[in-house]
Symmetry: C2
Subunit: 303 residues, 2 copies
C-alpha cells in the first residue's frame, strides 16, 4: 500500500502503533514536541523538523541565511507551542555533490542568528552525502511542569486566540524570515493560564482540526475576526500554512484581560478568533451573516 | 568552493566557526555526542545520525527492519562512546513518492526492536516528502558526570582496547545487524576507569586518528593484535569502518585486570591492540618484525 493512500496522518498513526514507550514519557507522537520527565519541577521537550530543498525552500531562491534561520525557527515554534524554552539543537545536514562550502556556511550563519535570538546553543550534528540539500534540526528544550500546554487540553467555552496575521506566508517569503512566537507566549503564560496550543504550520483549518480532535471538542471560528496578512484572502489565511503563528485557547473569564494586556504589550498582535464548543458541533466557520460552514482541513499535505 | 575540496572534516571545522555556544555546554561539535549540563550529578547527551538510501543502506537489499535497527543503533553506539545511557529518540523520515506503508512499518519495527534492547523510548518525529528514503534519528541520553568519557582525554602510556572484531562489516551485512556496545561499556566502566573513547564508524585508522588528534597524543597499534572478523584482512580491519565497535584507552596499571575480567565476562571480546605515545611519534602500525608505518586515515569519506 502506497503512503499516498493513507496520507501523512494515517501514516503517522500506523507508525505510532509499532512503538512502545517506557516510563518517564509524558507525551510522545501527536503534539508539537515530545515531553518527558526532567528535574523535579520541569519537563524536557524534544522536537525534530526535516527541511528539504524543493519542498520547504529552494536553493537559489531563498538566501542561505534564510534557509538556516527557517530550519531552526520551525523547531523553536514547536517548543513555543508547548509553552517551553528552547535550549540546545543538533543539525543533520545532507549535502549534494558539488554543493558549495559558502552555501553551507551561509546556512549555519542563519542557524546561529536564529539561535542567538532565543538563547539556543547549536551543539552538534552530522554531515552526510545526499541527493538533495536536507537539513534536519532537533531541538531540546524545557518547560515548567505547571506551564506545559498540550494540544489536547482545550475545554468547552475556552476562547480561541491567534498571534500575528495569517496567509500568504510562502508567496510573501515570510515563511523564510518569520520570528517564532517563543518570547510572546512566555510573556502571555507569565500572566494568563493557557489551556491548549498548537503552532500554525499546516494552516489554521488543519491545525485547529488537530487541536480540536486531540481535545475532543469542536470550535467556531468567526470569519470576520481572522487576522489576515496584507493582501491575504480569508481562504489563504485559513488554509495556506507556514505562518508559524500560535493558536491557543484560554478560559473565557480571562479573555477581556488578555486582549487588553496584549493590545498594550504584544507587538505581534493577538486576536480572539472564536471559541471552543462541544465536539458534536464540529469545527465550523461562522460568517457575519450568522451562516456556519464546516471548516475542512485543507492545509499543506506531504503525501 | 565545493565541499569536495575541503572534505568532511574541513567542512565541519568551517561550519563550527559559525557557531557560538552558551553556558551549560560541556562539549559541542567534535565528539560522538554533544554534552550539556543536566541534574546535579549528570550530564545530558545528544547525538544525531542521518541515513540515506543508497549511501548507508539500500532499500531492496536491506530488510526494512534492518534499516530501522541500524538507524537507531548507530546513535546508541555514539551514546555508548561517551560512557552514557540512551533514553529517548526522535525520528525524522523523508519519504519518496510511491514508498509503501509496509516498508516504513518495517523500519519502525526495527527501530522499536533496537529501542527495546536498550530501554530507549521513541517519542516523536517528523515525516516529509523526500527524493530518497532518509532517516535521521536524534538520541538523547545521560551519563554520570564522573563517568563521561571524551575523545580528548587519552594520556601517554594508556593502553588501547577495542571491543569485538573488525573488518568486512558492509560486505558481511553486519553493518545492518550489529549490537552497539552500550551494555558492555557500562559494565567495563562500572569496574575500570576509562580515559578516552570513540566508536568505530569511519574505520579504526580514521577513528584512532580522531581520538589521537583530539587528545594531542600519538598511538602505536600492534598489527598482530588487531582482532579481525572472520575472513577480514588486516587492511579491511583497519580501514573499512561501519564496525560500530568501541575503541578506548585505559591506564596501563589496569590493563591486566581489565583483560582478565573481560575474558570471563565480556562475550563480545575485548582486545588490547596498542598504546598511547607522545604526539611527536604520530599514529603508527607496528608489524611483528618491529617495523613501524604511519597509520593513515583511510576510512569512509562522505565528500
Amino acid at each position: 500500500m502506497k503512503v499516498e493512500s493513507v496520507g501523512e496522518f494515517g501514516l503517522i498513526q500506523r507508525l505510532a502503533k509499532q512503538i512502545t514507550v517506557g516510563p518517564g514519557v509524558v507525551r510522545s507522537i501527536g503534539d508539537d514536541c515530545a515531553v518527558f520527565e526532567g528535574p523535579p519541577t520541569w519537563y524536557h521537550l524534544l522536537t525534530c523538523d526535516m527541511l528539504i530543498d524543493g519542498v520547504h525552500f529552494k536553493v537559489g531562491r531563498a538566501k542561505p541565511e534564510q534557509i538556516g534561520w527557517k530550519a531552526l525557527a520551525v523547531s523553536v515554534s514547536d517548543v513555543a507551542a508547548m509553552g517551553g524554552i528552547p535550549q540546545y539543537a543538533v543539525v543533520s545536514l545532507g549535502v549534494p555533490k558539488g554543493c558549495t562550502v559558502e552555501l553551507l556556511e551561509g546556512i549555519y550563519k542563519g542557524l546561529q542568528r536564529m539561535a542567538g535570538t532565543c538563547g539556543v546553543s547549536v551543539v552538534g550534528g552530522d554531515t552526510v552525502r545526499a541527493p538533495r540539500l536536507t537539513i534536519d534540526v532537533t531541538l531540546f528544550g524545557r518547560v515548567e511542569r505547571t506551564r506545559l500546554v498540550l494540544r489536547s487540553s482545550a475545554r468547552e467555552g475556552d476562547q480561541l486566540f491567534v498571534t500575528g496575521t495569517l496567509g500568504g506566508a510562502v508567496r510573501s517569503g515570510r515563511h523564510l524570515t518569520f520570528t517564532p512566537r517563543w518570547q510572546e507566549i512566555r510573556a502571555i503564560g507569565d500572566r494568563f493560564p493557557l489551556h491548549a496550543m498548537i503552532d500554525l504550520s499546516d494552516g489554521l483549518s488543519s491545525d485547529l482540526g488537530h487541536l480540536a480532535a486531540a481535545s475532543r471538542v469542536g470550535a467556531i471560528v468567526e470569519a470576520a475576526a481572522v487576522p489576515r496578512a496584507r493582501g491575504a484572502t480569508l481562504k489563504s489565511a485559513l488554509t495556506e500554512g507556514e505562518d508559524f503563528e500560535l493558536l491557543f485557547t484560554a478560559p473565557a473569564s480571562m479573555s477581556a484581560a488578555l486582549t487588553e494586556w496584549a493590545a498594550g504589550a504584544l507587538r505581534c498582535g493577538l486576536t480572539r478568533i472564536g471559541e471552543i464548543v462541544p465536539a458534536r458541533q464540529g469545527v465550523t466557520l461562522r460568517h457575519p451573516s450568522g451562516q456556519r460552514e464546516r471548516l475542512a482541513a485543507a492545509g499543506f499535505r506531504h503525501f
